[in-house]
């Protein structure tokens, strides 16, 4: 929760791709908020139509956003009540964290498999 961008989203941030660092394989890692639960199809077809599928890979994290996170985020960002909202966000993050960790590992594994193949 001490991360610089944690729970800091403003309406202007939706649709902006932000660089957050590089992974062990020197791939650039970005984050993107889409304001929608099901933007996966749109994103992949946007890059396919522009022949960019070799350059980008989108990993969907929305399935890991639980009710605690949703409610806490709504209180914090929409109602501007970060103190109360972050209590729920903390519960939600604790619950989602193991799954997010597995997701990150799986993404890495898939990438490694692609390289090995």
């Amino acid at each position: 929760m001490n991360l610089p961008d944690f729970d800091q989203t403003t309406p202007d941030d939706f649709g902006k791709i932000r660089h957050i660092g590089k992974d062990a394989e020197k791939n650039d890692i970005y984050v993107l908020g889409t304001k929608s639960r099901d933007a996966g199809g749109l994103l992949s077809s946007l890059i396919d139509a522009q022949n960019l599928s070799q350059e980008f890979r989108f990993i969907e994290t929305m399935p890991y956003v639980n009710t605690w996170l949703r409610f806490g985020g709504w209180l914090s960002r929409r109602l501007s009540l970060p103190l109360i909202g972050r209590l729920f966000i903390a519960i939600g993050i604790k619950e989602a964290y193991p799954k997010l960790k597995t997701l990150v590992r799986d993404v890495g594994k898939t990438r490694l498999m692609e390289v090995l193949q």
């Binding site: 649709g15 791709i17 889409t34 199809g41 749109l42 994103l43 139509a49 522009q50 980008f56």
Partner: protein, 159 residues
Amino acid sequence: MNLLFVARTGVLEALTIGLGYLDQEDQLETNSAFGNIATEKKGELIYLGKGRNGNDVYCVGYKDPEIVVRINEEIKSLAEKLENPLKVIPVSVPGNHSIYTLSRLAMLPLVGNYFAPKAKAATLKIKDQLIKAGKNLQEKNSEVTPAAKPLKTEHGIEK
């Protein structure tokens, strides 16, 4: 440049505008994507055909079309080589929210089948308006293209 029309509904509003742009409005009701809620749910780009300039034309639905413009610009700015850039054109029908609401209701299990034809009917009600918007965009686009090339006249090149 290839074009992507984005409206709040892809298989209803954006598709109608896109077909108007391509002068294929007579194919609207027979188009397999028209009112197809399963296609809408996928959220993927729908290929409509080639425009007058030979550009590929697509359509898609997204609840906030301006975000698609922003995402696409961000992708383009990060891409190392961009051979087929896509221009995103957000389109909306002022004051008309019923088509979007009906399309969302049509996605519901069990009751969805009741709302799907209603969403189609609501689109057909404003079909002329949507097609006209597509044709206006076509005129605008073809106005821009010749201006990029100098016109040859008897006396040489016209400025």
